[in-house]
Amino acid sequence: MSGAGLDPRTAPKFQVAARRLVGDAQMRKNVRHATNVIQTKRAKVVAEMPDWEDLRESGRQIRRHTLRHLDYYLLQFEKNCTAAGGVVHWARDAEEARQIVIKLVKQSGPQGESPTEIIKIKSMTTEEIQLNQALEEAGVHAYETDLAELIIQLGHDQPSHIVVPALHKNRAQIREIFQREMHLPGSDFSNLGGTPQDLADAARRFLREKFLRVKTAVSGANFLIADTGGVCIVESEGNGRMCLTLPETLISVAGIDKVVPKFSDLEVMLQLLPRSATGERMNPYNSIWTGVDKTAAGDGPRTFHVVLVDNARTKILADEEARQTLQCIRCGACLNACPVYLQTGGHAYGSVYAGPIGAILTPQLMEMHHAQSLPYASSLCGACYEVCPVKIDIPEVLIHLRNKVVKQQSSGLNILANPEVMALKAVARVFRSEAVFRIAQKLGRLAELPLSHKDSNGVGWIDWLPGMLGGWTQVRDLRVMPKQTFRQWFEAREKAGKKGAADGK
């Protein structure tokens, strides 16, 4: 994974990417360690909240209500943000969003000249619209200032987690990346230490110079507050706060789903988000700003833009069963809890949104034209739903999206190219009749006969199956069908008179 970016349009199917990634022992160890640490911290700070389930329900209701009245709250946000001195832009899709941001960046230099560099706060929405690449092509280099995003950028890597994007790398690997890529003038990195302090110090020296020099910043947003026109970002490092306060121009890019109706809704959200995301009671840095400071002091950026991005979100909103996807507040708890993500890491998902939320969000952002393998990247174990702070029933949405995929595969001549569709439709016919089911049970016993071997206990086992069923026998044996089905036994017993047969088993 390097350079080109995670693009669902060109990514391999999940199962293909996963096959390679489960062979990466170092990555799996890193992911296991990091998700385990975060999960343990989360469990501890959630357990100490007696009203956690009530908070989750409140979170769900706030997000649900907002989505039902999204047009109203977005317009309210625009009005209040504009009144406070911000400029609101609307982007239908990723391309339009990129063009708007590039235009605003280019206008942001002194005397309207284009700067060649900007600083950035970690933002999933800008990853989604592949902004950095577009800026680079327009002659503007974006410096990621979030420590993990910096590691990804310097390592020519891709994010593998929506909150902790470099979670697949360990400290030794990060040290190597810094040594190789930082090129700080006057700094000798040949004996850079590997402790968290050493690495944080290197990052600080690298970034501080950018904070003081670069005058244009791009951010995302955790929440847009409709009743005040304010924007909220929470973070752990304070690098975001630097980007929000030092530059002359700030451009915040946000999905239209990020709005909350009232400032007071943050009371719920800012309890749910940090506990779910990083296992902290509160984020170390909570920034909320409203427009620009028009007083003589003139604190912070002089120019502030918000770019509101649709990019298929209104399409998701129109789908009654899937619209709960947009309730997401990007905490990443579902990734940390997911046993599939645990084995593959994030890159297998071929999208900047990995894990269970990525498996439902990505194909919908692609309007089901790409990423159709993602709804199947789940055993439906339900661990994601259990930890979701806004109660998105991810397994239900996965099943709903699977249905959409099956409909695509079953349409017209597609069906002939797909043995799975043919097989499942045939099995469905079997279950519609008891008589046919009985015949199928008999035929199954005959069909498996040539494949079975007897083990030392005289029990028949199958250790090889043909075609797509071979996935089972790659690491598992399968016991052959017993000679008698349960229903045959029960009928024989009824016939013989209950008593004797039950005792004799």
Partner: protein, 251 residues
């Protein structure tokens, strides 16, 4: 909790489920044995086939709908319905109301609403409907319990199955690490995403082996078939066994 019903013999209709019928008849026999030992009678509606889980969860929802109507037809006169499969019971509880809604037939919606409270997963029937833990079983082996995801997160079985097992005479029950973690079966997931499923399974098998148990049990034979398939491939000598077969054990 309706423990007062423990004394009265109930007429229990057994929904064996398609895969137990075909692959695990011993589980069905054990269920019959335990229920009869407790003084209940068991009937078996002969036209039953499948709950529809495989189709519904894989995305073949239209194909799943006739299985709902078949179930309603077969079990409409039942007093209480017991099934030894957590995932099938969870399928019914979680999705039958949605399926009924999809069919836009108020009669089916009403029938589903009426029948679902009568449906019990086997261990849940014992601990919650009957309110009992000691079913008079004897099983002198070291056993670990695998909590299937649907039992844990959908049916909220909690420690009900473990309480049943602890009351078994002679048993040495040991807890597995990461009890709440999926074994990686997930129905068609094990086939469609075989590599990831195998990696998840490796974690679960490691957990089973670390307990040094002879037997891994649970309330769902599909998970046990998955875990057991790997235990057999590796010739570990550890056997999967449905909880009903332990509870049916006698001296």
């Amino acid at each position: 909790m309706e423990s007062e019903e423990a004394g009265r013999g109930l007429r229990v209709s057994l929904f064996i489920t398609c895969y137990n019928d075909t692959l695990f008849p011993e589980t069905g026999k054990a269920v019959v044995k335990v229920l009869e030992r407790l003084g209940h009678t068991v009937d078996f509606p002969a036209g039953q086939t499948c709950c529809g889980q495989m189709h519904w969860n894989t995305g073949y929802q239209e194909e799943g709908l006739p299985m709902l109507t078949r179930f309603l037809e077969q079990f409409k006169d039942s007093e209480v319905i017991v099934s030894p499969s957590t995932s099938c019971v969870a399928m019914m509880k979680d999705h039958y109301p949605i399926m009924a809604e999809r069919m836009k037939d108020p009669k089916i919606t009403a029938e589903v609403a009426a029948i679902l409270p009568k449906v019990w997963e086997f261990s849940q029937f014992l601990t919650q409907k009957l309110g009992i833990e000691d079913v008079g079983a004897y099983f002198p082996h070291r056993v670990t319990y695998h909590a299937s995801c649907h039992g844990l997160r959908s049916l909220h079985l909690g420690d009900g199955p473990q309480r049943l097992l602890r009351a078994v005479r002679g048993i040495d029950l040991v807890e597995i690490e990461n009890l709440e973690q999926c074994c990686g079966f997930g129905g068609t997931f094990a086939i469609k995403n075989a590599e990831v499923s195998s990696a998840m399974l490796a974690d679960k098998v490691r957990g089973v082996l670390n307990t040094r148990a002879e037997v891994v049990t649970g309330c769902d034979n599909s998970c046990l078939m998955h875990v057991g398939g790997s235990l057999h491939r590796q010739r570990t000598g550890v056997w999967p066994l449905h909880i009903a077969e332990i509870l049916a054990g006698e001296e």
